[in-house]
Symmetry: C2
Amino acid sequence: MSGRAPSSDLAARFSGNPLLAPRDLMPSREDFEVLSVINPGVFRHAGRTWLLARVAERPAPAPGRVRIPVARDGEVRVLDLRADDPGLDVSDPREPKYKGEGLLSSVSHLRLFSSADGKTFTAADNPFLRGEGAYETYGIEDPRVTAFADGRFILTYTAVSPCGYGIGARVTRDWARFGHLGLILPIPNKDCTLFPERIDGAYAALNRPSGVIVGGHDIWLSFSPDLVHWGRHRCVARCRPGAWDGARIGVNGPPVRLPQGWLVLYHGADASKRYCLGALLLDPEDPRQVLARTREPVMQPVAPYECDGFFGRVVFSNGHVVDGDTLTLYYGASDTVTCGAGLRIRDILSALGV
Amino acid sequence: MSGRAPSSDLAARFSGNPLLAPRDLMPSREDFEVLSVINPGVFRHAGRTWLLARVAERPAPAPGRVRIPVARDGEVRVLDLRADDPGLDVSDPREPKYKGEGLLSSVSHLRLFSSADGKTFTAADNPFLRGEGAYETYGIEDPRVTAFADGRFILTYTAVSPCGYGIGARVTRDWARFGHLGLILPIPNKDCTLFPERIDGAYAALNRPSGVIVGGHDIWLSFSPDLVHWGRHRCVARCRPGAWDGARIGVNGPPVRLPQGWLVLYHGADASKRYCLGALLLDPEDPRQVLARTREPVMQPVAPYECDGFFGRVVFSNGHVVDGDTLTLYYGASDTVTCGAGLRIRDILSALGV
């Protein structure tokens, strides 16, 4: 590691990190290159551990040009600009602007990888999951996967189009056939994960709308009778100005039921856009109530692969598996690669003061 | 009128405008003053025409000070600052900022006014409708009222709190007792109006979420089985860059069923924040389909009371009544007063090319 992990960092990183890297993947079309393979949804199925990773691609670069993917008439085309075009603003490489209009630096789809031991992953034969319909023309990003006891898996992801980014959802039992639940939460919303069981008869989702003028990038909780229609929205955790999670927060993967309550891991960024992970403990009977929140991050970007890359100083997780006291976290590092780490649940509870 | 109305302006303004003005109202607390009485929801009930107007109040001014309402610990207090405080930014008087944090210039509640002739309104005895609960601590704004054939009235309004602004809703039959439906659409959302009947068995609402980074201030359509939970969100009309409705759009009051389709009036603002009104015609069977849209505004701010005031050059309507071919529009002018105007539906259809 480039820096020593601070004492609050509870993550034992895999020695084999990164587990997935762009160089291992073929792009989905020949005029694109793979920029990153990150932020997988995680689940167990058929005796294996699976990662549903976001693969972000961009137009292959050309000297002196900036090439930006744009959705036009339902398909992705390439806007090819001179690098010194005065209309171009690439001060944040993730969010280029052209003539004041926000554009995307990449278009994402989802690919499955599986592993027998949870440490060595190989690409699955399953078809890629791509954006479908008018609200996913810029692709689909950052999936969370929630497994229900009845055998259903629900994918919730960021659906991106020129109309904005909202929460899309699909349902599957076999990872071959999928039902589309539509845009389940309107723009602008990201970072949605479902609870793995109903709360008082209703599906429940933690999600992250973004305030305009008033309000911030906070974590909200919403409820649904049918996964398609959502209401009873309420804010459960706000950013803490000046702290490591002062600028934006959003949930990781599905909440984990413990005797003490629902354990929720989340990412937080400060004004410098350094992304760390923290934890919340929600009331076991009424998850609208936050029982505890870690003061310090439980994981911070310290390893070289977490500090250098397309957008450095980022650890960002959408999923995990739990085996006894061990929570194995899969996470995107530096917006470039996918890594793994183990955390002891008792350490997280201790950091929560429980 | 200060300027001649352009030929596209179809509105015959009432000679008695404004119908309601701040000077006619007492503030709801003695340390506040009434800033504006605007943007009423409109309905017919018990043989009269009713306006449910937004009354915006602010702390009474003091020399050399800027006094801003803030919600703290569930109640509204006054932040009292020196006018030259370097942390203060009042470049847009509707949206002051202090140390980068967005604040409100006013806090709103709703009051009922009624009229026998639709032209002279008097304050009703009904209690004021105020913000209730954590998501309305900064007040409630810009109500739309939709009357269903079963006698229910549904109010949809902007619920404002430090967590952001979303869509709140309440239901009543008698304007004395109200049921609260919660925050029905998450932040950030404004300008929500219900269709007066179900579409294929579902409640339908036009609403205006706001994009962050990608997406704009466009009109969306959402559906609900029960008025509480909403899904199947889709964008039905986008801003037209460079036009009078290039920066933001949002619906007026409830859609009007005509043989030709659903007539929807909407407001649009350009980059200079001049607010005009236009019209959409939605497919009578499938309102997700836009059949026509007016190229020019059907109403523009031209009268003195529409051009001068707290925030000039604004006509903004949340409701209307229909009598034969006459659509009587009640509207906020210059974010200060409430006015009335008549439009002929056949003229609007003609502007729509129908």
